[in-house]
Symmetry: C2
Subunit: 222 residues, 2 copies
DNA sequence: AGCCGATCGGGTACGGTGTTCGCAAACACC
DNA sequence: GGTGTTTGCGAACACCGTACCCGATCGGCT
């Protein structure tokens, strides 16, 4: 029944009783739920309740929960506003990365999905095509371009993931522990880092993004 | 009860009935289970069964399942064989990254944990200290060094994660879909990538690692 | 107009999960 | 030897993803 990715399976059958809902509608409900209460709240029952129906009904639209997560992740790609390349790949990738971060800030659950199951649907494919267009002139082979795309997406997801958890309880505990270890005498460099501290509110993203990009492009066009 | 990270809580009480097991023993059982059957198989019941006891008993050693996952991830850091810096940071980071990849290949579940909850325990702290020692002479501020550590770990986890799933069913479906999209006429660059193909078995890791590292270190010392 | 074939809707049920509660058992110490 | 404290762990709870089944509902054909 589900031997292929969901986007290769027909959404509705051609004959029989017509469906009352659509994949898009269910995806929207799931995204709203995740935005409000986090990814763990996206259970089949809760999404179904959001639509005023029962959990079993969702399986008419989606083979399993992972399919739904894939739909959610791919749907966010519609929030890009892809512009034709300007001719300056580094600048274009900077803009692309910034947009990506903005989207992930809007959907705090997205980094987790990107990092653990990076599935590409129609939206992801369009995004990938755009990326390939931007890096078209660069002296990179096909594999390197694909690696670049994955690496860029992954890096931004990591940044957003970290940023989203920065104010959370887990991060508080982590720094508390590292501070503890830094004071045990056996980790002088770590202690030095804590001393230098300097958690100035400056946004580190642009600089980091540039570093990653220069690494990606093989230090051309800096 | 569990306001702090598990490594800041005493493993055993000083008085009363002595415990029959240890965190290390439980961690080892969980790691064995994960190595054999994957991370999803690491349920409290299954881990307990591995030790010939009941699920509830584990909660005397661990506050919840996430604590156990943190213990597992940190325990793998013991598999590093950290050597004193040679004076060539780029080379040292190269061997460090290679070791990291080897460990993640041994424990296919590790990348997921590193990517989603990058908690540092005693092992992670030692690793971080080692990293800081290696990059000590470089003209980077404290924040940049910490970012470099996170980025390096994250990148290697992504690589290992992708590599582990390369032969799997999900990846097969993904490429099947992308091939389908590449043939729809609307994604010429993607089609070009498929045409260039060239999935030669060459190991891409060393080159990729070098790229990421040069990006990290601000293109010094290449 | 009426039937028929096929799909949809969704209640119910199954097996599994993380976690809490409560109590009996086991030890260290006075 | 009693006592205080901790551990071991079966039972129970709430929730999860998912399979099954059957009545409801439609389009197309006769």
């Amino acid at each position: 029944m589900s031997e292929e990715v969901i986007w290769l399976r027909p959404e509705h059958a051609a004959v029989g009783r017509p469906a009352e809902r659509s994949r898009a509608e269910i995806t929207a409900a799931a995204i709203g739920l995740a935005d409000r209460e986090g990814l763990d709240a996206v259970s089949m029952r809760k999404v179904a309740a959001e639509l005023g129906t029962g959990a079993a009904s969702l399986y008419r639209y989606v083979a399993n929960r992972d399919d739904l997560l894939d739909l959610m992740a791919d749907a966010t790609a519609a929030e890009y506003e892809l512009r034709p390349p300007s001719g300056d790949p580094l600048a274009d990738l900077g803009v692309l990365g910034t947009r990506s971060l903005a989207i992930m800030r809007r959907h705090p659950w997205l980094p987790t999905l990107v990092l653990t199951r990076s599935t590409l649907g129609p939206g992801g494919a369009d995004l990938l095509e755009h990326f390939l267009t931007v890096v078209d002139g660069l002296p990179l082979d096909a594999t390197a371009k694909m690696e670049g795309f994955a690496l860029l997406q992954g890096f931004i997801a990591m940044y957003a993931h970290h940023e989203a958890g920065a104010e959370g309880e887990l991060m508080r505990r982590q720094t508390a522990y590292l501070a503890h270890v830094a004071g045990d005498g056996g980790h002088p460099r770590l202690a030095a880092v804590f001393a230098e501290a300097g958690d100035t509110g400056a946004d580190r993203f642009p600089g980091l993004l540039r570093r990653v990009l220069t690494g990606l492009l093989g230090d051309i066009g800096a």
